[in-house]
Every structure is written in C-alpha cells, then in structure tokens.
C-alpha cells in the first residue's frame, strides 16, 4: 500500500506548471492537486505516475470569482470552500447543499473541485453539477487555452476530453436565475460513500408552471448527464407529486445503468427513479 516512486515538481506559477506538464506528460506525468483520489489510486498501484506536477504551491489557483453571469472556480479550490455559500445567488446555496455530500470533512479540506472534474468518477457530485448546469471547463497548456462544454467534456468512466498536457485551470458555472429552484439527492449505503445514484434538478416557475427544467443524473451511467426525457415531463407543468413521479419514471427509463457485482442494472434504475423524485421533492420544500 505504498505509492511507487515518482519525481515531484513544485511550480510556483501557472506558466511554470504548464511547461513542466508539457515536458513530463509523455512520461506519464500527472497533476497533483488535492490528492484525495489520485493518492489512494497510487497506494493501490493502479496509477504509477513517473512525475507529479504538484500545483499546491502555485499562486492564484484557489480563486473563486464571478462576473455577474459566471462563477469561475480555480484549479485548486477545495471542496470545503463551498461549506459556506461563495456567491449571493441560488448557485451558492446549491453548491453548499451538494458539498456536504462529498466524502468526509478531512477529504473536503484537501480535495478540489477541478480535481474531481479531472478525475471524472461517475459518482462525483461535482461532475453531476457540471453536467446538469452545462458548465464550461477551461483547459490550459503551453499553447493556450480552450473552453470545453460539459456535454463534450465527459467521455466515459474516469475519462475526459482533457489532453495529457492540459491542466484543468478553471471551471465556469452559470449563475442561476434569482428565483431558481433546485434539489439534490444521492443514495449510498454509508454516509460519505460513493453515490450509487444521484440527481440534481433545477428549474424556474412562471405562472406556477415549471420552465427551463434541468434534470441531471450521476452515478448511474459512465458519465453524468442531463436527461431530456425527464425535463420534457416537467416542462410547462405545475410542480406536484404526479408530475415529479412522471419525471422520475422518465429518467429511470432513459438511463442505461452501470452494473457491478453488488448492484444490478435494475436496482440502479430503481435508485435513479428514487433520487430524481427526492431531488424534485426537495426543490419545493
């Protein structure tokens, strides 16, 4: 249970980090941020990176900013930064509600928002947030930067559109309408475990009817995603038990659930039905 040997690089600036990453990426160089996913994988020797570019000393990567439209979250913003609302917008409360479900307190003080997105575990809460809200991931390398839309970013289990020499420098989340309603629910067998299914929902009410619905499901498929069928079941309807159940049913039918030795596809589909309904119920309480 000891990590294999590696060379550690400790850049002080982002430019320096990108230069080193460009050099070491072809030799299985990786970025080390909070290390709460990478280090366990290294302990199991599932990953044996020859080089780690440790970004914990890089200035400015722990910045959170908003320009009135987007909330920008820097590469080293820890999960615990969201224990309190970071912006006066329903998005701040949404992130606070989600953050408390991420692993445990000591993990949250080290692990990072962008690190979760780069790791892209199917059960990741932040990946679900990014997919549901159509976040933009900003990838940087020595040649420049490119924005990647969430729908293009997540490519499979722990697989993203990031190239090996790209650092996920920032994630940008759209601020929500001031009257936005949201709900989040995840199911796991023990507090802090990986979600076996999770759902984030968000919408507005206009004349008592749901508009701009977003229904995201995570932990059930290789990647988190919005479920168009469930959103269609909500759109234009007044919120209520029957409508919520219809949307949950639509989500459950739409997913192609992951299976493992403890969890059958049908069980996970049932969980999707439950977490979507519970997230919707939370949105009106």
């Amino acid at each position: 249970m000891k990590p294999a040997a590696f060379v550690r690089h400790v850049p002080r600036t982002l430019d320096e980090a990108l230069k080193i990453l460009a050099q070491v990426a072809p030799q299985d160089g990786r970025v080390l941020a909070g290390g709460q996913s990478l280090v366990p994988i290294m302990a199991f020797r599932l990953a044996k990176p020859a080089h780690l570019v440790d970004i914990n000393e890089v200035e400015g990567l722990d910045r959170i900013s908003n320009d009135g439209k987007l909330l920008s979250i820097g590469a080293r913003v820890r999960h615990a930064a969201f224990h309190k609302s970071v912006v006066e917008n329903p998005l701040g409360l949404l992130l606070t509600e989600v953050a408390r479900h991420i692993a445990h307190y000591p993990i949250r003080v080290r692990g990072t928002f962008c690190g979760s997105l780069a790791h892209a575990d199917p059960a990741s809460e932040w990946c679900l947030v990014a997919a549901t809200l159509d976040a933009t991931m900003v990838a940087k390398n020595t040649r420049g930067e490119r924005p990647i839309a969430a729908k293009d970013y997540f490519q499979g289990i722990m697989s993203t559109a990031l190239a090996e020499d790209e650092l996920l420098a920032e994630a940008r989340l759209p601020l929500l309408a001031s009257d936005a309603k949201f709900g989040f629910n995840e199911f796991n067998r023990r507090a802090g475990d990986f979600a076996m299914a999770a759902s984030l929902v968000c919408y507005r009410l206009q004349g008592g009817k749901i508009v701009e619905p977003r229904v995201g499901v995570g932990g059930a498929e290789p990647c988190p995603r919005r479920i168009a069928e469930a959103e269609a079941a909500l759109n234009g309807k007044a919120p209520g038990d029957a409508v919520f159940r219809a949307a949950a049913e639509a989500a459950a039918s739409a997913v192609e659930p992951l299976e493992d030795h403890q969890t059958t596809g049908e069980y996970r589909r049932d969980l999707v039905r439950a977490v979507v309904r519970r997230a919707l119920e939370q949105s009106i309480t």
């Binding site: 249970m1 000891k2 990590p3 294999a4 040997a5 590696f6 060379v7 550690r8 290390g35 709460q36 280090v39 366990p40 290294m42 302990a43 199991f44 780690l52 440790d54 914990n56 408390r100 445990h104 307190y105 000591p106 993990i107 003080v109 080290r110 023990r190 507090a191 802090g192």
Partner: protein
C-alpha cells in the same frame, strides 16, 4: 528509487530534520522518520481516518498527503494534545464516556474532532455526527464516541 529530499517537519512545535523520498506519505514520515507513533495507520488509502492529524489548522488524512507537502507547515498529532499531565478536554471526555475500547482509532478520532471544533466551535450536534462519520471504529459502536465529542464540544465552547 528516486533521490531523497531534505525537509523539516514541525510536529507539535518541534522540528524534525529528515530525508524522505517524495512518495513517503506524511503518515509514514511522522511514525517512521520522526518516531511519533501515536498517529496510527489503518487502511492507507484514506478510508478509515486513523491517521488523521492537523496540518495548518486543518484535520487531514496523513496517508493521503506526502511528507514533502507538509514541510514547513505546523503539524499537530496526538502527542501534542495534552498540556503536560493535563489531558485535553477531548481526551478526558473519551475517558469519561468510554469512547474507546481497543484504542486503535482513537488518535484519529481525537485529532478529527479537535481539528473540526477548533475551526467551527459552534457546529451543531447533527453536523458533528456527520463529521464523525469520517472515521471508522470497529469496537465502540460509535455511540460513546458521539457522546464524548458532544460533551467535549460543550466544554471547549465554554472556555
């Protein structure tokens, strides 16, 4: 093998000059290189919390940090919790409420609880329960740990 790096770990106010490989976890360095064996190592992959220590005022899993990352930062371990012969209120509460049996997980629970309560003294009972779900204990059934931490929280707030 990669080269060892000379670093200084400051544990409970005392400097330890050591040479470690970058892959050396903070937990191993504290125990093997600095001889402070009060910090226990359970799972070595961040699940059990036995190795929890306080780095820069924050409770962290020392098996998920590399020693080189903690160089120059104040580290607190179980050895530094008591004030001479006088136990920390958290240690006393664990005794009073029978919050341990075999004691293997105890250093981790103490550093977790102290680390969180120093940062958030007014944390509620429910939130504290969530905090305590971070660590594993295979003896007590947790109820006495919860009682002990809630009692110590009251006392720490009172001071």
């Amino acid at each position: 093998m990669t080269d060892k790096t000379d670093i200084t770990l400051t544990i409970n106010g005392r400097d330890h000059a050591i040479a470690v490989e970058p892959r050396r976890t903070l937990a191993d360095a504290i125990r093997e290189d600095c001889g402070q064996t009060g910090t226990h190592i359970g799972c070595e992959h961040g699940v059990c919390g036995a190795c929890t220590v306080i780095v820069d005022g924050e409770p962290v899993r020392s098996c998920l940090m590399f020693a080189v990352q903690a160089a120059g930062k104040p580290i607190r371990t179980i050895e530094g919790l008591a004030d001479g012969e006088r136990l920390h209120p958290m240690q006393q509460a664990f005794m009073d409420h029978h919050g341990l049996q075999c004691g293997f997980c105890t250093p981790g629970f103490l550093m977790l609880a102290v680390g969180v309560l120093e940062r958030e003294p007014d944390i509620g009972d429910e939130a504290l329960l969530d905090v305590l779900s971070s660590n594993l204990c295979r003896c007590t059934g947790y109820q006495n740990i919860i009682k002990a931490v809630r009692a110590a929280a009251k006392e720490m707030r009172g001071k």
